[in-house]
């Protein structure tokens, strides 16, 4: 039996189920109306809500900052990678145009937003149970929250991009071309997304440092240098 919900709930269901027939119709302009705005609003709402729960550990101001910054990171990643994703899509045989590639990734990020947004009540509960940043255990709690959110974001990111497999198969007609394109998009988005997130720090907020929208040294260094530094100073 088919579900009988209407409106945005039906569209959210279509996105999260990765229904290749309907999603392809959206991309080909065969649908009654574009779902671009739905995807944009879903990203703003879902990712914003989840971002707020990340910042909540440091208080309402940080919750507001991260709630604004996280959707910005998503949109910046989409913008920065638009060119290379479109090129890769055509090079790897997906047969998607530049615009269709961007719209596909917008859909994937909307699924990402739905996953992390639906997990927000749980992450609020997690923060509610965490000792505050001023406590003696703040360092350990910060690391635990970092690991938890990194796992959730990575999970949601991988699952959401994977939901595009049906669309890619529909357009390319080839399973291997669909997988190649998917992996190339995933790698590109993770590579650029990590650095864009680094520029927008603080996201998780190191205990002891002041709450701020951006660090004064935002453009000093990069994510990969920091990881290397952390690995060599373990």
């Amino acid at each position: 039996m088919k579900a009988t919900e209407t409106g945005f709930l039906t569209d959210w269901g279509t996105l999260t189920r990765g229904e290749s027939g309907r999603l392809s119709a959206w991309l080909e302009g065969r649908a009654e109306q574009s779902r671009r705005w739905l995807c944009l609003v879903t990203i703003l709402g879902g990712v914003g809500l989840y971002g707020a729960t990340i910042g909540l550990w440091h208080g309402p101001l940080m919750a507001l900052y991260v709630g604004v910054k996280l959707p910005l990171i998503i949109f910046a990643t989409l913008l920065v990678n638009a060119m290379i994703n479109g090129l890769l899509a055509q090079l790897l045989g997906s047969r998607l145009s530049f615009w269709q590639t961007t719209e596909s990734l917008l859909m994937a990020f909307a699924v990402f937003a739905l996953i992390v947004g639906s997990l927000s009540p749980i992450t609020v509960f997690l923060v509610w149970n965490a000792p505050p940043p001023a406590s003696a255990e703040a360092g350990a709690v910060h690391r635990q929250l970092l690991v938890t959110h990194t796992f959730l974001i990575a999970f949601a990111g991988i699952v959401s991009v994977k939901q595009l497999h049906g669309i890619l198969r529909h357009f390319s007609g080839s399973r291997s071309a669909a997988w190649r394109t998917l992996l190339a998009w995933l790698a590109g988005n993770l590579f650029a997304g990590a650095q864009i997130g680094f520029l927008f720090r603080p996201i998780f907020g190191t205990p002891g440092l002041e709450v701020a929208f951006l660090r004064p040294d935002a453009f000093d260094g990069n994510f990969y240098e920091s990881v290397w530094w952390a690995l060599t100073h373990l």
Partner: protein
């Protein structure tokens, strides 16, 4: 071993158990939990297809859940007595219903990720049935818990026992959610398995958030925030005595 019978037709009990078909008879309170135990597929069918009486069915599931959890909580309260006789049942009911509520949005999204064409209302119905089954099992285990509550002094042992009972209940409750997914045609259940792990962690953390549930207490809640693993490790190290006295003003 009779291999012929093992490989041929399933047992009659299995045939009646796994049918996804309309519920027979009126959804009275006793008939609801009777069907939930014997033919859970019928309960899931009625909730998914919004059959006549499904609202009554939902109400019965909710009433059964609250009743069973309250009785199980009361048994936990007997371990310490005093205020815990009313506080423990209240905390068990709040804890389980709270866990179900905060994980409901993710159950809906993860069900869709698994390819389920299901409404939010149906997901809420499946969740209600699963929590009800879990609660019924806890009620069934309550007499055993009561015997241990009367004879055990080690809080770590009693806590471990309650944890085992909780896991037994979870196994069957979450199993009902997987069965619902199977009825609706889902074969790969990876995302639901992830959700089940999250739900389990939330309920375990809830038991720490609402502590003390089985220890003595002068206050309803402790003000100290802790993760459940850190809390359990303290008890295993013999540092749990402070917890028994509850919140310090």
């Amino acid at each position: 071993m009779n291999t012929a019978s093992a490989n041929s037709e399933p047992e009659p009990a299995d045939l009646t158990r796994d049918l996804f078909e309309p519920m027979e008879g009126e959804p009275t309170l006793s008939h609801t939990f009777d069907t939930l135990l014997k033919k859970p597929g019928s309960v899931l069918y009625s909730l998914h297809h919004r059959e006549t009486g499904s609202a009554r069915l939902l109400r019965n599931l909710a009433l059964t859940t609250i009743g069973c959890l309250a009785v199980f909580g009361l048994v936990l309260g007997f371990y310490s007595g005093g205020h815990q006789l009313w506080a423990a049942p209240l905390k068990v009911v709040i804890g389980v219903l709270g866990s179900a509520l905060i994980t409901l949005p993710s159950l809906y999204i993860f069900s869709c990720l698994n390819g389920l064409d299901i409404t939010a209302r149906s997901v809420a119905g499946v969740m209600a049935a699963a929590v009800c089954l879990l609660s019924l099992l806890l009620l069934g285990l309550a007499p055993v818990a009561w015997i241990f509550a009367q004879s055990t002094e080690q809080i770590a042992f009693f806590g471990f026992l309650v944890l085992v009972f909780w896991i037994v209940g979870l196994w069957f409750g979450l199993g009902l959610i997987f069965r619902a997914a199977g009825f609706l045609g889902v074969k790969r259940r990876f995302h639901l398995a992830i959700w089940a792990a999250i739900f389990t962690l939330v309920t375990l953390q809830m038991s720490t958030t609402l502590r003390p549930i089985i220890g003595e207490s002068d206050h309803f809640l402790t003000g100290e925030k802790r993760f459940f693993l850190a809390h359990w490790l303290d008890h295993l190290d013999g540092d749990g005595a402070v917890e028994n006295n509850g919140w310090k003003p």
